[in-house]
Each structure stands twice: as structure tokens, then as C-alpha cells.
Symmetry: C2
Subunit: 299 residues, 2 copies
């Protein structure tokens, strides 16, 4: 089983309006509500792929019940006092987003989250997205040192703090890697993430594909053609595919081909957490994979 921790879940609310105008009253045409947060998107993709998955999320209040009802099977709710935050996305031709701050967790609530994650023997643990308030910035490191095979998709101080604990794989996008590493070369980023402690690093940059630096080698993998669309969904699908590949013990070239195809197959889907299985099947054999020794120059 793959366990996904969504430490800071969000109810994703999408409004369709004619045009967002500051200071105006907007009648909303359609409303869509769903259980979101990066971890939830990762878990949805794994579920769609038929992979046994547990999504652990701290949830309270009426909003927590709505979240649980929407996500459905596979969710392990850790009861907390506060309801999940909402993220409101207002769509006209653009997306105007309002992100609520998450709740503050008490120390006991966070201990209950940790216990729920470690409760079941898991093949791979995915730590995806931000941490809620009240939780130390190096909280992800604790799971790595607990000996669980770990894939981390985080950014900023949370990612930086997790590296030193030696996670199996970190998978930031290029902008996130650049933010903490100071270089915009994806090979250099991937190598530096390993130098700082990660056993493997995948740095993605949208249609340019990804750079993977591992103990077994360094690869570049990219989709056969440019697919424009939903970048959040693509990142979460990439993380899901990487976790699935590690859990299955596949070879890196196969993991990377599948990961690029899975990510590209999410780009065309309007909501994060879905992939187009036909597109995935079509792309997986067309992914362009190049082994490289460039990363060695940066080590």
C-alpha cells in the first residue's frame, strides 16, 4: 500500500463568473466543491491507477465531514478541532485564486497525524504539500528517519529541512528547486538536492520534461510533444507515478517513462487528481529518455 499524507488539506471551490472586477458583486454561475490539497490529488491519481492507497489528513468540523464524504474510500481522517481551509478559484478567462490559511494544529493533534501515518506498514510514503500551522518546519524529516521509503513533493523551508534526513526521492518543480538552491539549471538542481541528502531527485519543468538524478544514473525524460494545460494536476500526477514506480520496484528508466506519461496525461484534465488513461497509454512508449552524465560535473 502507498500512504499519502495531506497535512494541510483544502476544500477546493471553483466559481465560474463572467469577469472578475474589483469592487463588484458577481453572481456565480456554477459552483464546484471537492476535497483537495496536493496530497489528495496524488492519492486520487493512485486510486485511478488501481493502486491501493491510504490518504491521511487532519480534518475537523462540518468542512471535514464534507471533505471526507467527497474524497470517499481510502481516506484516514485524523480528527482535529478546526475545519480544513478552503481555496476559492474564480474562473473567467483567467484563474483568480483566494487561498485561506490552514488551521493551527495542537501538538497532540500533530502526534495523532504522525501515529496515523506510521500505523500501517506502507511500501512508500508520499509527503506532499505544505505543513499546517503549529507543526515544526522539519516535520517531514521525522517520517524519513522512521525508516519509511519516502517521496517528498514540498518547497521552501519544508523541503530544505527534509533533505538532510535522506529521503528516498524529492520531486520539486524547477521553480521550487531554484528557490532553495539558487540555480536555474535543472541538472545542477537535481545534483544539489542529492548533495544535500536526498537519495534521488526529480526536477520537473513542465513541457521540458524532467531531470532525474539517482544512485543508478542521471536521466532526462520528456513528453514527445508539448501538452499545455493544468500544471498543478501535472505535478501531482508525476508524484503519484514516481511513488507507484518505487513501490513496484521498477527500474528507473521505466519509472521515468511512466511518470512523464502520467504527468502529461493529467495536463489535459480540468481538475487536478485525474489523468486521461488513453493519453497515458499512448504516450508511455513515446517518452524521450536520455541518459546523461552531466550531473557528474556538478557533484
Amino acid at each position: 500500500v502507498i500512504t499519502v499524507l495531506c497535512a494541510n488539506p483544502a476544500l477546493d471551490i471553483t466559481y465560474r463568473v463572467d469577469r472578475v472586477t474589483r469592487g463588484a458583486v458577481h453572481p456565480v454561475g456554477t459552483v464546484h466543491r471537492r476535497a483537495g490539497g496536493k496530497g489528495a490529488n496524488v492519492a486520487r491519481v493512485l486510486r485511478q491507477l488501481g493502486e491501493p492507497v491510504r490518504l491521511v489528513a487532519p480534518l475537523g468540523g462540518a468542512g471535514g465531514e464534507e471533505y471526507a464524504a467527497d474524497f470517499g474510500p481510502g481516506l484516514v481522517t485524523v480528527p482535529i478541532a478546526a475545519p480544513p481551509r478552503s481555496s476559492v478559484c474564480v474562473l473567467d478567462e483567467h484563474a483568480t485564486v483566494f487561498n485561506e490559511p490552514g488551521p493551527e494544529l495542537s501538538p497532540d493533534e500533530w502526534e495523532a497525524v504522525v501515529a496515523a501515518v506510521l500505523d500501517v506498514r506502507t511500501d512508500v510514503l508520499v509527503l506532499s504539500g505544505s505543513l499546517p500551522g503549529g507543526v515544526p518546519v522539519d516535520a517531514y524529516a521525522r517520517f524519513v528517519t522512521a525508516g519509511v521509503a519516502t517521496v517528498i513533493d514540498a518547497k521552501g523551508a519544508v523541503l530544505a529541512a527534509a533533505l538532510a534526513a535522506g529521503p528516498d526521492l524529492v520531486a520539486p518543480n524547477l521553480a521550487e528547486a531554484q528557490e532553495i538552491l539558487g540555480t536555474d539549471d535543472p541538472y545542477a538542481c537535481a545534483a544539489e538536492l542529492r548533495a544535500r541528502g536526498a537519495r534521488g531527485a526529480v526536477v520537473s519543468s513542465g513541457p521540458d520534461g524532467l531531470i532525474a538524478a539517482t544512485a543508478a544514473g542521471t536521466w532526462r525524460a520528456r513528453p514527445p510533444r508539448v501538452l499545455a494545460g493544468n500544471p498543478t494536476g501535472a505535478g501531482d500526477a508525476l508524484t503519484a507515478a514516481l511513488a507507484r514506480g518505487l513501490a513496484g520496484g521498477a527500474a528507473w528508466p521505466d519509472i521515468l517513462r511512466d511518470a512523464v506519461a502520467t504527468s502529461a496525461a493529467a495536463v489535459g484534465c480540468e481538475t487536478a487528481g485525474e489523468i486521461d488513461p488513453v493519453l497515458h497509454a499512448e504516450l508511455v512508449d513515446q517518452v524521450v529518455l536520455e541518459e546523461s552524465d552531466v550531473a557528474d560535473h556538478h557533484r
Copy 2:
């Protein structure tokens, strides 16, 4: 007891942001959530004034539970399938509002609302705000013909359809009256609302005060000084005070002085449904009341 029907309740959500920019991602500083809708605001003011009040609202889902928990005592929930709509108000120096459409009620659900309203003998019934989908536009008329003393604060087709049934009092603002009557003279509006069937009409126009046309006479009542602020709160506080005056059997001049003072005492409060009791006490003796026979010319 005063019964207030909030047929289309809303969870009012307020976000504070730096500046609303179309197409941008906005971290939200503070989030405030409360049980809203015009009827709820009217009932809150009555509760604050110590008046026994029942608020009847159709509510479902987790959002309905949140609504009930927030409103607290006095709420009569009519269980329905759908959760209440939300209304998101994003504050910078302006207010940018996103109003979700309300749920569609089934015929059985609406019958349950009607039964809950008429279940208890009530001194005055307040019908405030819009109707949800699935309910006929003349739905308010049914309560009037049931013989309950009725105060209606509605607009558009809902107000127009209610007039013919002969409600005791209608209380639109001038813009709402103008919309269905085609004149912008408040005396003419008040007289025409009576001519169309209302036994009494109060037409408010913010700092200019109100015109009241009744069987006992026509008055203009206005606050002693201009108070700028929250117009939604002022309108709902006015409705609350009018209902309280009718329930208590006060004379029109006293009802109108109190109503203007109550409305003005809401203007300074940030959230609708509250009044400043000190300001109310200060203003009630200073309200400028003029009896007029102008309305006779329009009858």
C-alpha cells in the same frame, strides 16, 4: 414571538487580502464565516433587542450544520438535501463579492418550510430576501393570505407578486421600489405600493431616511445626521425594528422613530445583523419626523 423566514440562507464568508487582482493567487489574511442571508440579519437584530424570535431556514448538508451552529438559539432548521449557498466577500479597500446561486428546493421541501413557518402562532411574520430555486415567485403571498401579520423586505418579481395579497407592511429601499414601480419619488413609491395592495409601505433611502405610507397617515423620518457605513446592515435592522413595532402595537410615529434610529445604529457596525445600542439610544429622540399629506396627491 416574531417569526423570520430566511428562505435562501447563505454562509457569509469574508476574506481580507492586500488587493484583489484578476488572474492572481491571493493568500488570505483572515477568514470570517457566519450564518447570513437577509432574514438571518433581521433575526439577529431582534435577538440583540431582546425580542423573542424564531428564524426558519431550509438547511442541508455539512454547511447547514455549520450554519445552525453559528446562528445558535432561535433557529428552526427545515432539513433539505442541499447545503446553503455561500457568499464570499473579499475585502481590500473595496468589497468584491461572489454570490453563489442557492439550492433548488423540491416541492416537498418547500411545503416543509411553509409548515414550519405556520406551525407556531406568531405576532408578526417577516419575509426577507430572495426565494430559492424551485419555489414559485408568488410564494410570499401564501403566508399573507394565511392571515399572519406580515412584513416583507423583498424586491423584483417576488415583491411585485406579494403586493396583491395585501401584506401589512412592505419595506423595500428606494432603488428596489423604483425597479418595479418606475418612479424615483419616494412618496410616489410608497403610495403606489399601497395602491397595489400593501396596507402599509416604508421606502428607505439611506441617509435621507424613509417615507412611510399607512392607513393612519404618511410620514417622513430621517436620522439627525448622516451616518455612512454598511447599507445591508441598515436595511435589515430597519426591517427588524418595523416588525418589532408592529408586534408591540406601537403608534406609527413611535415605530418610525425607533426604526430610523435602529437602522442608523446598524450603519456603524461592520457586520450586518448588529446594532450599536448606545448609538440607538442616543438617536431615537433626535429622529426628525414630519407628517405629510403629499402621498394623498399620488393616491
